[in-house]
Each structure stands twice: as structure tokens, then as C-alpha cells.
Amino acid sequence: MSKQTQDTRRPVRPKIQVENPGALIGRLLGYIGKKYLVQCIIVVLCIFVSVFAMVQSTLFTKTLIDDYITPLLLSEAPDFAPLAAAIIQVGIFCACGIIAALVQQLVLVYLTQGTLRNLRDDLFAHMQKLPIRYFDTHSHGDIMSIYTNDIDTLRQMISQSLPQMLNSVISIVSVLASMLVLNLPLTMVSLVMVAVMVLCSKKLVGLSGTYFLKQQRDIGAVNGYIEEMMDGQKVVKVFCHEEQAKADFKILNDQLFDSAYNANRFANSFFPVVIQLGNLSYVVCAVVGGIMALSGFWGFTLGGLVSFLTFNRSLNSPIGQISQQLNSVVMALAGADRIFRLLDEEEEQDEGTVSLVNARFRQDGVLAECEERTGLWAWKVVHSDGSVEYIQLKGDVTFDHVDFGYVPEKIVLHDISMYATPGQKIAFVGSTGAGKTTITNLINRFYDIQDGKIRYDGVNINKIRKGDLRRSLGMVLQDTHLFTGTVMENIRFGRLDATDEECIAAAQLANADGFIRRLPDGYDTVLTGDGANLSQGQRQLLSIARAAVADPPVLILDEATSSIDTRTEKIVQDGMDALMTGRTTFVIAHRLSTIRNSDCIMVLEQGRIIERGSHEQLLEEQGRYYQLYTGNKPADQKKD
């Protein structure tokens, strides 16, 4: 597994070399064949037909001269009718070849694009099901390059390289067969030359492969450096660091030039080397064959040698073509390897059975399931005996001696116990890395705990279906993420069936309505590039609106207002407090004004809750919270 922890200036790119190319090709063909078996067969048949037509047309030259022109030259009154018939016959073969080529190309377009589409769809659908952990351990750039580079090289391979190679192999086999019939020893000579070609190609593939690998790494290094420097371009300007930046870039850029030059140099040399070796093979065969024919060895005739040499010549170009395709095949296989590896990643497991349903109290006061949205929800628990129990969703969250570590060896949260009752506002404070965000990621099961229990309205969250669990929790995350689409669509992301009015109401609640209306097209303004045209504060307001429209029973705000000025924050907070009356809110913030009115404040340090209580209680305790709040250090903790 490629972990992203290495020196980031030189990201380690996945290798070009593939461990088991045979199995990989098999799997790839299997994948294509699953959906496009008929098309594959058609393509293969078409290739056979067009190779046949090609062979017919090349052989015809000899027939033309030997069987028609030579006799005609000798005859007194030349009759061209048989020749015309022969030409028409070959013409029909050719027509078949042309049609086959057309069908092949047409089917290939659908087959290639269809396979790419299936791959993309499968990749995307599968990616959506992967656990968060996958995204933690794989760089986003690497995942992205699967969708772009790897799929692109695969297109080249499916639409060009594979049919081309099949074509070449059929040609080679048929030519070799014809050669064998003509003369065994001479075929051996030819084969020796072919072996030399293969060896040379292999050497060149190896050389260029090494440099392609290096090139790939250097590209990674250059891209990484560019990304880092472009991100900090304004800092570069402020510190007048331009000259240094140019010099640093030059080093990496020169390295890339070197590997790109060498990689392409050897790749470009394939074709001439193979072709000229082919010419050499022709000469050797002509000489050896000439000696054999003249000495009458094995009954080999001059006519036979002429045919043999023609075949030898037509062996050249398919071998040359294969050698040309080799590089793109190797690159494409490396891509296919990465694609399948992503598809093989284990999906997020969901063994939960408890589901979330809309509910209402019947006349007799019993909670019952209903279709429409009532603002009331219930957990539907189906017991093993088939009986169904409805538990009203209140937002009651308890942590019972919870331990957690991102890796089992390193526990980051120790023995966390807490109790949040409906309507309470629970705040987490503590330094960076104390585990605040981690706790909230456990409630929605982005990660699973190692030990202890988390209960939601008394139900163990492991028993709740993940989708339903998350639907019941509104989250506003530390990093805002907006999606390409209109402002309205981005707010509606919170709840797909929300009306325009509901979305606008949510925006008003989040105090986002004002700036949205000032955007060029108001709520219909299209946001692109993660809302690049909005300020960080505005993006936060939008993500709050998105959570507000979801109208969840439990809300988790992770540094949700950190970039909003305190006056605006106050307005937003009042709105949120009104929305969350009677519901549970978890707040993470480093700004005190955000958390002061919480019912309970948990002070976290190094994965443990070290203090808890209301603002006033904690101040009275004169502990860590007091120290953070007032900026004064208690006497016994003096340091620095």
C-alpha cells in the first residue's frame, strides 16, 4: 500500500512494472468480455477476415505475374478474360476485408468507450463505498490519476494496441506457416533473426522502461514542486524569493528533461532497429537460400526462394508494429493494475440492521412508522424473533469507555465516557491533535472503535445501518467542501427533497442569504472549483445552510465558524440554537465565544477528557480550561 507519509516533495508514484502481466491481461480481457463478449468475437473475426484479405492482395502480385502475365506474353492472341475474372475474385476478397475493417472499427469504438464507461462507473461507485481510511492513506492526486492517466492509456491499448497486436500475431503466424512449408532450414534462419529482433526489443524495452519509470517519478517530483510553489506563490513574492524558486525548479526540471529524453530516445529507436534487423534477415536469407538453391540442396528451387523472400519481407512490418505497441501496452497494464487494485479495495462494511424511519404518535400514544416527513423519527429495531420495536430518535448519545486508534498499535483516544442528553450542547476544546475531531468521527462511524461502546438512544451504533446513522447526524466539517453546481443545489445537498423555499430559509438561518443574493445570479449562481470564488467565511456559511436544511436531530459542528467574524457568528449561532432546541449539538471550536454557552464543555488532552463541566464550573475549578480561557497559567503549572 502506498502511504502518503514519505517526503512529499518527491511523491513515490506507483511503479510501471507489473508483477504478473499475464494474469492482468486475462483479467482485463475478462472484464471487457463480461459486457462485450459478442463484440469481442466480432472484432476478432473481423481481424481474421482483414488479415486474410491483406494476404490475398499481397500474394496476388506473384499470381498475377506467374499465372497471367508470363503465359499471356507467350500467347499469340492474349485473352484478358481470365485475368479480369481473377482480379474480380481478389476484388471481392478485398471488399470483404474493407467491410470487415469498417465493422471492426465501428464495434471497437463502442467496445472501447463502453468499457471505459463501465470502468469509470465501477470505479466511482466502488470509490464511494470505500471507508474513509482509504482516503486517509492514499494521496488524492494518485486516486485522481487513475481516472485520468490510467483510463486514458487503457483507451489507447484497447482501441489500438490490442487489435493491432492481434493483427500482427495472425500475420506472423500465417507467414511463418507458409515459410515452414517452403523450406524448414531457411525458416530456422529467419527465426534466429526474429529471436535477435526480440532480444534487441527486449533490451530496448527494458532501457526505455527504466527511464519511463524515472520519468514518471520526475514528473511526480516536478508536479509536486509546482503545486507547492504555486500554492505559496504570494509568499514567494512577499519574500522576494523568486530567484531561489527559479533555481530550485531548474534542478527538478533538468532531471525531468534527462529522463524524458532518454525514455523517448529508446522508445523511438524500437522501430528502426527492428526494421533494419528485418532487412538484415532478408539479406542473410537471400544469401543462404541462394547457396542452397544453386547447390540443389533439399530440392529447393529458385522460384521457392523468391516466394520465401517475399514472405520474409512481409514478416518485418508486423514485428515492427508489435515492438512499437509494446511500450504503450506496458504503460497501460501498469494503469490497469492500479485500476483493478482500487476495485479490489475492501468496501466499507455495514452489518447494521436498525433503520431510521419517519414516525408519528398514533392516537393511543404509540409510536408508529409513517411515510411522510413529520419531523419525528424513530429507530426501527427488528428483533431476532421477528418483532418490531420503534424507539423514538431523541439524540441521546453515550460513550462508554471508548478506546480508539487509527492503527491498532497507537491508541489516540483513551477511555472516553460521556453522556449527551437531547437538547444539550456539548463542546470539545483542547489543543490540535487532542482528539476532538476524532471523537465526532466515531459517532458517525467514519472509523470503528477498538474498545467500549457508543450508544445512540440506547442502541449500539454498530447495529444501526450506516446510512441511517449518518442521516440522523448533521455535520459541518472543518474543511468546507462545495460541489460544482448552483448555490441552491449545494444547499439542497443536505436534503434532496427540500423545496427552494426551505433552502432559502436555511440560508437565511445561516445568515448566508445576504451574500448569496449579492452574487451575480443569486441562488442560481454556479459554483466551480470547490466554490473558489467565495471567501472562506462565505463557504462556511453555505455549509452551515446545507446542514440546516437537513434539519437533523443531532448536529456536529467542527470548527464550523472559524472563518466567520464574531458579529456574524453571533447571528448564525442564535439561528442554530433556535433550530436545535430540544436536539443535541456537538461543537468543536477554538474560539471561546462559540462554546461558552454550552451545557457541558469537555477539555481534551492527548486523547483523554481531563476536565468537564459548564463554563462557570470549569472556571471555578481553575484548571486547564481556566488557564486557556483567561490566558493565565495556574501557579503550579508554570513553565516557559
Binding site: I69, F239, N253, N279, A286, V287, L302
Partner: protein, 586 residues
């Protein structure tokens, strides 16, 4: 545009010229070798002349070696020229980006600059290599074959001429149509990839809102559209190969018929059988060359968009110019705004800053507060001339900022930007951005002032500890303190902190402020903050509102007279500090 790019070929002109030369040599060999082959058969094998076979064989080996040298040479020079061209393009763009003003950086956006430097350059590199290796080779090969064909039999060769013209016209039509489709397809393809990118980076949001299925179905719609549009585009090209085959076959058959007749009727005088064989063998090479040209043409059209985007970067000129006779020394830290108005975009109606008049004495501490978008950052960015004012003038140390050498000005007016960036490298390396000749002691001193020393000295390797890209292994507050230290090392006349202590806890923030005011008493300090406590002690506080100054005064004065200030203050009330950070220090 072409001219701009051509300039970057630079030292690879020689390679760029040699490539086609070698390719032509290879073509010549390619044309001669079939003749030798024919001669081996006709004059050697057929006549049983083994010595002729030896001789022609030897000649052919020599030709093959020359062909090999030419082919490998062409490949090598082509690779060198194109890789070198790409290198120069990247370097030239990168160098030019370094001269960009802030306005240009804003205009292009980071993401688009990255694509231009990477993907676009690769596209152009591939196209350039293609052009060098094929653009001369293919026509020459075609002409060679054509000439040989005409030499053998002008009547029959005219069949080729007709075929080539017909094929060229049809290919041109096909390519034209396909290009239009491809030009529509590629932006859509980029859009789809952008949406994948969004989903990867926003996966937590997707999962938190249980939108996996929704996003997948959205993606599938996009993916289906891509499928449709690419199938449509590629269907345009489907006909090319069969068409090419059809032409080849038609030529072969026509030549066979006409050739046979000609030979028989003239009794081998107008044309011999050997000549007919050679004629037929040129068929392939003529039509192949045409095909090659068509492919090069497609590649060029596809890379033109990339070339244009590269040229845009290369042609971008900074609108900020150093004056002819610049001043290199900022005499003191006084700052004066004289009726300054500023807009980021000349066409935008409402200015970001409107008619600002302001006088700051040297050594004064000035705080700036105001809501999001009130123009605080824009105001300070004008001081070090990161942007030029639209109207009015700004004077630093009594001189107009436009009369200074820009580098000198920026070195003496030190800004700690809101979006702070650290670079991968050691702590010391990052600090020395401020002053590359700073001694270790000076760096430590600066860090002590910015309260960064206390956490750096606790890092495993102290000042030699590795900082990851963007300072990813440091907390927000630690990054900010390091950035302040970096700015201090410039020993500036004016120090501007743009919301630079927002992630630092209240107590440390206070200590930094005290250190700065005692140790850098002569330096003018401008502090932008969200937190009133950060500016409370300043000599004067400026309250910004909607691009204008709503009030200036001390904390007490503003509390009394300025409503905005009062309401900001009340929203934070007493201590009102921030958490975070402190834990890391103990």
C-alpha cells in the same frame, strides 16, 4: 502564439533541425532498399547469379546500417528536441510566473497554472516530437515514392496521383468534422474529471450526508454523456482505416489490370514485370505517409488548445513596473494614504477601498478590525505594492511606493499574509526565506520574539526538524508563529500582521505583542485581527466597514463613539480568547 512558443526552442534548435534531416535520410534508405531487394530477386536469384546476391546483399547491409543510424539518430534528436522544448517551456512559464503581480496570480488561479505547467506542456511536447519526426518525413517519403513511380511509368503512376488527391480531400473533411466533435468532447471530459476530484476531496461530506448513491448516479449521467459524445467523435474517424484499405486495394487491382495489359500489349517494352512489382510496393508507402500526415494533423489540432494556454502564461506581463530611477532605501516606517481608491478589476463598479485617507507615524502600532470583506487585507496589501492603487497614492517613508525598487520595498515592508504557507524543508530553511544570510542565532532570536522558539526547541531535531509541505506537520498556531519569525528576519521598517495570530491562544498572542513592541519599537506595526484583545493595546485602531474607514482611535475612544467596534467588542466581551495550541507547549 506560435512565435512565443518557438522562442523557447532555444538551444535545441540544432536537434530540432537534425531530426528531420535524419528522418529524410531514413526515408531515402527506405526507398532504396526495396529496389535492392527487387534486384536481388530479379538479377540474382532468378538468374542464379550468387555473386550478384553477395554484392547486392552487402550493399543492402550497408544501407540498412545507414538506415539504422538515421532512424536511431532521428529518434534520439527528436526525443532531445521535444524533451528540451518541454523543459524550456516549463522553465520559461515558471520564471514568468515569478514576475507575476498578485493580480495576475489571482487571474490565472493556482489550479489552472498547475495544469498549464504540467498537462499542457506534455501535450505540446508530444505534438512537437510528432511534428519533427513526421511532418518532414511523411511528405518526403510520399514524394520519393511518387517520383520513383513516375520514373517507372508515368501513365500508371497517375493512378496514385488520383488516389492521393481523393484520399487527401476525404481525410481532410473527416478530420475537420472529427476535430469539431473532439473540441466539444474534451471540455466535458475535463468537467467530469473535476467532479471526480471534488468527490475525492469532499468524500467526508458525501458520506456524512449519505449521498454516495446520489453522487454515483450523478456521475453515471456524466459518464454516459461522455460515452455518447466520444462515440460520436470517434465514429467520425472510423471510416479512415477502411477507406485507406479501400484505396490501397483499388490501386493494387487497377494497377494489376492496367499493368498487365500494358506489359502484354507492349511486349515488355513499356513496362517489365519487375517494374510492376516495384510500382505495387510503392503503393503502401505513399498511402501510409498520407495517413501519417492526417494523424499528425489531428494531434496538432488537439494540442493547439494547450499551446494557447501556455502562450497566455508566457505573454502575461506584470502591470507593476519598477520605476526608472528607483529608491532602494526606505528612510522610516511612516505611511500615508492619500485619497486612495482600489478595485481588483478595473471594470468592477464598486471599489474595494474608497477614498482612504490615513496617516501612520513611524514606530506606531495600528490595529485594524472589521467584518469579512470590509477591505482590511486589501488596505495593507497596497502598502508593500502587492497591487497598485486605482486612484490616489500611498507614501512609505515619505516616498510614493511606486518610486521604490519593488524588491527593496517588499524587504523593508514585511507582510505576514493571511494565507500563510510554509515549504517543505527544515525549520531553518523556512526561516531563512526572510534573510538567506541569517545566522542560526539570528533565527533563534526571531523565533523567541514570535514565541516559536518554545515549540521548535522541543521538536526532535530542533531547528533542523523537517517541515512538511504547507507545514502539514505543524499546528495552525505553530505555523503562524513560524511565519511571523520568518517575516521578522527581514528586519523590516514596517511589519504587517494580517490575521496572523488567529490560531494562537490569547496568552501567547499577548506575549508576542509585548515582545514586538519592546524589541521592535522603531518598526511600524500594523495588526489586522478578528480578536479585539489583539488590537486593544494598539496606539490607534482603524475600524473598516465596506471599503471605508468607519472610525480611528484608541480602544476607549472607539468603544465610546464607534458602534461597529462596540458591537464587535460586545460579541467577544471580556477575555474572549481562543483555545487551541496551548497544549502543544507543555
Amino acid at each position: 502564439m506560435i512565435k512565443t512558443l518557438m522562442k523557447q526552442i532555444g538551444e535545441f534548435k540544432r536537434d530540432s533541425l537534425l531530426t528531420p534531416v535524419f528522418m529524410v535520410l531514413e526515408v531515402v534508405m527506405e526507398t532504396i532498399i526495396p529496389l535492392l531487394m527487387a534486384s536481388i530477386i530479379d538479377d540474382g536469384v532468378e538468374k542464379g547469379d550468387i555473386r550478384h546476391i553477395y554484392m547486392m546483399g552487402a550493399v543492402m547491409v550497408v544501407m540498412a546500417v545507414i538506415g539504422l543510424i538515421a532512424g536511431v539518430g532521428g529518434g534520439t534528436f527528436g526525443a532531445r528536441a521535444s524533451a528540451g522544448f518541454a523543459r524550456n517551456l516549463r522553465q520559461a512559464m515558471y520564471d514568468n510566473i515569478q514576475t507575476f503581480s498578485f493580480a495576475s496570480i489571482d487571474k490565472f488561479s493556482t489550479a489552472s497554472l498547475i495544469t498549464r505547467l504540467t498537462t499542457d506542456v506534455t501535450n505540446v511536447q508530444m505534438a512537437y516530437q510528432m511534428i519533427l519526426r513526421m511532418c518532414v518525413r511523411a511528405p518526403v517519403s510520399m514524394v520519393c515514392a511518387m517520383v520513383m513511380a513516375f520514373f517507372l511509368s508515368p501513365e500508371l503512376a497517375s493512378v496514385y496521383l488520383i488516389a492521393v488527391v481523393v484520399l487527401a480531400v476525404v481525410l481532410a473533411v473527416i478530420m475537420r468534422r472529427a476535430t469539431i466533435y473532439f473540441q466539444q468532447a474534451f471540455p466535458k471530459y475535463d468537467d467530469m474529471n473535476a467532479s471526480v476530484q471534488e468527490n475525492i476531496s469532499g468524500i467526508r461530506v458525501v458520506k456524512a450526508y449519505v449521498r454516495e448513491k446520489f453522487e454515483t448516479s450523478r456521475f453515471m449521467t456524466a459518464s454516459r454523456n461522455i460515452f455518447n459524445i466520444f462515440v460520436k467523435a470517434e465514429r467520425q474517424l472510423v471510416i479512415t482505416f477502411p477507406l485507406m484499405f479501400a484505396t490501397v486495394y483499388a490501386c493494387i487491382l487497377t494497377l494489376s489490370w492496367l499493368g498487365a495489359k500494358l506489359i502484354v500489349q507492349s511486349g515488355q517494352t513499356a513496362l517489365t514485370t519487375g517494374e510492376l512489382t516495384s510500382l505495387l510496393s510503392y503503393c503502401m508507402s505513399i498511402l501510409m505517409s498520407l495517413m501519417m500526415l492526417a494523424m499528425v494533423f489531428v494531434m496538432i489540432t488537439m494540442s493547439i488548445a494547450s499551446a494557447r494556454r501556455i502562450a497566455e502564461v508566457l505573454n502575461e506581463k506584470s502591470e507593476l513596473k519598477d520605476p526608472d530611477d528607483p529608491i532602494y532605501e526606505v528612510p522610516d516606517g511612516s505611511i500615508r494614504f492619500d485619497h486612495v481608491s482600489f478595485r481588483y478589476n478595473q471594470s468592477s463598479e464598486k471599489p474595494v477601498l474608497h477614498d482612504i485617507d490615513l496617516d501612520i507615524r513611524a514606530g506606531e502600532t495600528v490595529g485594524i478590525v472589521g467584518g469579512t470583506g470590509s477591505g482590511k487585507t486589501s488596505l495593507v496589501n497596497l502598502i508593500s505594492r502587492l497591487y497598485d492603487v486605482s486612484e490616489g497614492a500611498i507614501y512609505v517613508g515619505g516616498h510614493d511606493v511606486r518610486s521604490y525598487d519593488m524588491e527593496a520595498l517588499r524587504n523593508q515592508v514585511s507582510v505576514v499574509l493571511q494565507k500563510n504557507v510554509l515549504f517543505s524543508g527544515s525549520v531553518l530553511e523556512n526561516l531563512r526565506w526572510g534573510d538567506e544570510n541569517a545566522t542560526r542565532e539570528e533565527c533563534v532570536r526571531a523565533c523567541q520574539l514570535s514565541c516559536a522558539d518554545e515549540f521548535i526547541s522541543k521538536m526532535p531535531d530542533g531547528y533542523d526538524s523537517h517541515v512538511e509541505r504547507g507545514g502539514a506537520n505543524l499546528s495552525g498556531g505553530q505555523r503562524q508563529r513560524l511565519c511571523i519569525a520568518r517575516a521578522l528576519l527581514k528586519k523590516p521598517r514596517v511589519l504587517i500582521l494580517d490575521d496572523s495570530t488567529s490560531a494562537v491562544d490569547t496568552a501567547t498572542d499577548a506575549r508576542i505583542r509585548t515582545a514586538l513592541s519592546t524589541q521592535l519599537a522603531d518598526t511600524t506595526r500594523i495588526i489586522i485581527a478578528q480578536r479585539i484583545s489583539s488590537v486593544q493595546a494598539a496606539d490607534r485602531i482603524i475600524v473598516m466597514d465596506d471599503g471605508t474607514i468607519s472610525g480611528i482611535g484608541t480602544h476607549e475612544e472607539l468603544l465610546e463613539h464607534n458602534e461597529i467596534y462596540r458591537s464587535v467588542y460586545e460579541s467577544q466581551t471580556q477575555g474572549g480568547g481562543d483555545f487551541d495550541e496551548h497544549g502543544g507547549d507543555d
